[in-house]
Each structure stands twice: as C-alpha cells, then as structure tokens.
Symmetry: C2
Subunit: 336 residues, 2 copies
C-alpha cells in the first residue's frame, strides 16, 4: 500500500527490495572511472549482433538475465516487466523482451526511463499487484547518434555542450525481499519546459525538470539534502548539472557536496565526451552497479536517484519546438 | 487493492469508475458508421495547428480537456496521466501534456496504448496510489503514414491488407466514483511473435497476441464469452480479426457473435480503407464513445476491451525482423 505524501510523492509502506540488479556496458564505459563496477563489459560494440539496434536489445537481454541470476529467480517467477528505450517505437525493449514470455509494460520516458520503470515496478510490488517485477532500460551510442543527430559515417563535429550517449543498460528486480537495497519512496515528475531548443544541449533542457521534481519531493516529505548521503541525477552532464544547482539555489535549496550526476561519473574527461554521458543506459548502468552496490554494502544509507529525460524528437526539433524535460525520483535505502 | 487471479489477471477490489471520457476525430471518422458518437469532429485535419504532429498533440489536449469537463474535474484534481502514441519518441503525448502540470507516465504500447494506459490508471486508483488518473492516446493518419510507410506526397499504392490509421484519440478519467462504467479486471499481455514480416499486414501480426491474452484471461478468471455482452479488439481489422478467431477456435474458444473490432467498426467499407482502421486513436476513439456510452447507458453490462499493438519500427522491419504483437485487456462493467 502506497501512502500519499504531499502532492506527488508516494511512501511505500511495505518497502520492497531490489533483490537483484545488473549492468551491461561496452568498452568505452568499461575503461571509465567506474569500469570495474559493471557486471558485463563487452569489447564488441555489436555485442555479437549484426546491427546496433539488435546490439541494444542484446544489452537489455543480458542485463535482465544477469539481474535474475543475481536475484536467484527464474523468468517464470517474474510477473511483469517495465521497460523502454530511446529508439523509435522502443524496439530495443520490445525485441529484448519478446522471448521472455512475461507480461510487458512498454514505457517511453527518454533518459528518465530507469527511474520511471523502477518507480512503477516498486509501486506494483508495494501494493501487491505483483510479487516480482523488473525494470529495464538501455541506450547505444551508435543507434542514438544515427537516429537523433547524424549517422557516424558523416563525421559530424561535436559541440562542447553535446553529451556522449552511453552504450549500456541496467536491470533491477523488485520483490518483497528482506535484504537491501530497499525502495522507500517514489515521486513521479511533471513535464517542464523552459524553452531550450538546442538538441546538443540536452542537460540544460532536463535541468529544470530535475530541480522541479527534487524541490517538490523535499516539500512533500519535509526532508532536505541533510537526510540523504547522496543525490544522483541521471545525465545532466557538466552543463546541465550547473544549471540544476543554480535553479535549486534560487529556490533556496543547497545540495552541498551531495549531488553527483551519472553522466559526469561514467566517463573521465580524457575520454573526449564533451559535457559527459547521456542516454537511458547512462543512469541505468550507474544505478545498477556503482549506486546500488554502495547501498547494498551499507556505505550509503539513504540515496535519491533521479533520472531525467528530454521528451523531444528530431521531428519536433525541426518544427521549432523547444525541448520538454521530465524527472522521476526514487528514494533508495539500506534500511527497511 | 488488486487481487491476483491466475497468471496474468488482476481483480480490482475497489472497482474504480470511469467518471469521464471523450473522443476526438477528424472528418473521415465523423463520416463513418459511428460518426455521431464522437464528442469532437474536426473538419480540419490540422486541427488548427501548423503540422500533423502538432495536430496530434492537439487531439490529445482536446480529448483530455473534454474528458475532464465531462467528469466535472479540474486539472488540479488529476494526480497522474498515463499517455503514449505512435510517433517517434511519443511527441504526440509529451507536447500535449506539457502545459497540464500533472505527473506524467509516458508509455509506448503502439496501438495497445489505450488498454495499457487505462489498465495502469485503473490499478493505480484501485490500489489508492492516486484518487484520480487519466489515460490518453492518439494517432494521426498523415503523421503515421509519413513515419511508418511513405510520405503522402509519394502517392504510394495501398495493399488490400493495409489498414487506415485513424486520425483521432480518446481520454478516460478514472476515479473512485460510484457511477458506471466501472473497471473490474485488468490483464497485462505478453509479447507474441508468429513471424509475420509484412508491415502492410499489421492485423495478422497482432492477432496472436490478442488470442493469447484473451485465452489467458478466460483461464485466469474461469469465465468464457458467455459471461460478456461484447468482446472488443482494438484494430485487427478484417484480415486480423479472421486470424484471431481462427487461433481461438484452434484453442477451443468460440466467441460466437460477441466479437467486434474497433478497426472494422469505425469506417464503412465504402470509405476505401482496405482492411479497416488502425492506430492508437482507433480503439481509443471507439472506446471513449461507442463502447463506454453503451455501458454507461446499461445497454451492455459486461464488456472486454482489448487493444492490440504491433511493436516494430521501420528500422526493425528493414533489418528483416518479424513483428512482435502485444494485447492488454480491461474488463468494463455497468455494475459495481
């Protein structure tokens, strides 16, 4: 049973557990600062498949299978899967989940999908709709560049504000288990749009949504940054993170040194990724390795995970539309 | 509180009400056999906007606003919106919901979205996660043709199995109200793929998923066609409907005269739509007019609504992939 707190937050009264989680990435992410944390690092950007899109489905398949292994469950115990990705018509997820034979809820939340899927999975388990749910997402640098910007073969020059789409994904299995990490609260975000139109500056387009969701969550729960060990955003990157903190400061909220962004964390600056990592797979792979590992080990007791999405398409951009952003938040904890 | 029934079905114990619903279509649908049932019929395919994509967002905006009017609620009472559409990155929904300022869960279920969104909204209200939720979706003939097949300007010849994407949409407001229609059960479907690769024969690609979900639902609930007044599929059309019934007959299930398909119902054969209507807006506009009107009036007491989606993209099709289908089911009733 989820109890309402304020306007947007829901307190999970049964406090579900993330019984298993797994991350899958490619070589570049494996060479980054947290490379040793990932479960699977593929040397081959095609992951043994013939196209980048099929490689992305493979990432999701490997992630969910590994997460089920780590949770000690078989596919027949899984009652529902929440999944989505960035590809047109979310084919990364549909083709990945095709063979599983499990009820499937397809999502589109752009790069907010890991928080959206984990939030829904946690609410479903908390309310007893299912006993075991999965949350999965992915992105792939090559399929995303081709679809959103230019085919790689064009050799387009990248702008300093552009971000590097992570080739990777993550999966989390949510159950009524008794071991940490636990999910304590979920805050589903609203769409925010401050008029950014530059598709090479996604961090700035998503920052207002992140600031809005976090300040609403603090208001709903009567908590502040003091109550958490770390506050993670998904993929605001270097540019968006600055704007995010500026917007919060204007609202009188100071995160001190507690804010970290998955897009800043996943690559080293020497890896030539301009403003940092992005894509659904960015926050998904960092959550399902670095973050959840530390909560499981008790290094961090309370963490906010907030993935952010830019809800535009190349078509809306060509039609002169600004970029709407969204951010969903999940409160993760080491204690029940 | 949702109670489990069998493998995939959930029985809603608080039995939420659809307090308001509305449908929006364009001229062609307005001229069809159920044209007089729709709330809003636009003579202008652009709905007063400058592009087809913006027209599609306008459809969703008009549908949700009209549904809120009919439910007698204001946007501030709405606690969450579940919405999706067929456009790349689901921009139809994102731009429609941008100004509402309500927590937003973006979905991608292709043409199954009306059942997916209504199912999730009903589960959320039933479990007390929210008191008031909306389910919304749309499609537009011109934006869909350009994106999935050929730009209209090419004048491509249509095949006899091809279906006509409905320009329209629907919205339903789910609450704890005491007036019919009510939502009694939800069955989230699995992905099915029998190897169809012809993107001009979507009905056939979706039929196996519809047959799978319906037979699973009957098994889960120990009911049969005898327990319902009507059983609606979303947009299998003429070709897919035949295959659907054939697959069910092989499983020993006979629907008699109780099966109707929204894609067959929305246009007259004289309207040159080949195998019938399709698109998220097809089942959405028929549900939020013809079907819910009859349940509200008590003409039908128990109806199954099952929207079906084809989870492919032009890219997956070009890469030789077959078309995975999915179908979600909602049991609607005139009695609590």
């Amino acid at each position: 049973m989820a109890r309402k707190a304020g306007k947007q937050t829901r307190i999970l009264e049964n406090i579900p557990s993330i019984s298993g989680f797994a991350s899958v990435v490619s070589k570049k992410e494996g060479e980054g600062p947290i490379g040793s944390e990932f479960d699977i690092v593929s040397e081959d950007a095609y992951f043994g498949e013939k196209t980048w899109e099929k490689a992305e489905s493979r990432i999701q398949k490997d992630a969910i299978n590994k997460a089920m292994d780590k949770a000690g469950i078989t596919p027949s115990e899984l009652e529902i899967v929440f999944a989505g990705d960035l590809l047109n018509q979310c084919i990364g997820s549909a083709y990945a989940m095709r063979d599983l034979g499990i009820p499937f809820v397809g999502l589109y939340g752009a790069c907010s999908t890991m928080a959206e899927s984990l939030g829904l999975a946690s609410l479903f388990v908390d309310c007893g709709i299912v006993s075991c749910a999965a949350a999965v997402t992915s992105s792939h640098f090559c399929s995303a560049e081709r679809q959103f910007r230019f085919p790689l073969e064009y050799g387009g020059v990248r702008t300093p504000t552009s971000q590097w789409t992570v080739t990777g994904g993550g999966a989390a299995i949510v159950t009524n288990g008794e071991s940490p990490p636990f999910v304590k609260r979920v805050c589903i975000g609203k769409i925010n749009d401050l008029g950014i139109t530059d598709i090479n500056n996604m961090g700035a387009a998503m920052a207002p949504a992140a600031a809005d969701t976090l300040s609403q969550y603090f208001e709903d729960t009567l908590t502040s940054a003091d109550n958490y060990d770390m506050i993670f955003t998904g993929d605001l990157g270097y540019v968006g993170s600055e704007l995010f903190k500026e917007l919060l400061q204007r609202a009188g909220i100071d995160l001190g040194k507690k804010h970290m962004d998955c897009g800043k964390l996943i690559y080293d600056k020497s890896q030539k990724v301009e403003a940092g990592g992005s894509g659904c797979g960015c926050s998904a792979s960092v959550l399902c390795s670095f973050i959840l590992n530390r909560i499981k080990e008790g290094i961090w007791r309370n963490v906010l995970f907030m993935a952010t999405g830019a809800l535009m398409s190349p078509t809306s951009n060509q039609q002169g539309e600004s970029i709407p952003g969204i951010a969903h938040l999940v409160h993760l904890s080491a204690e029940k």
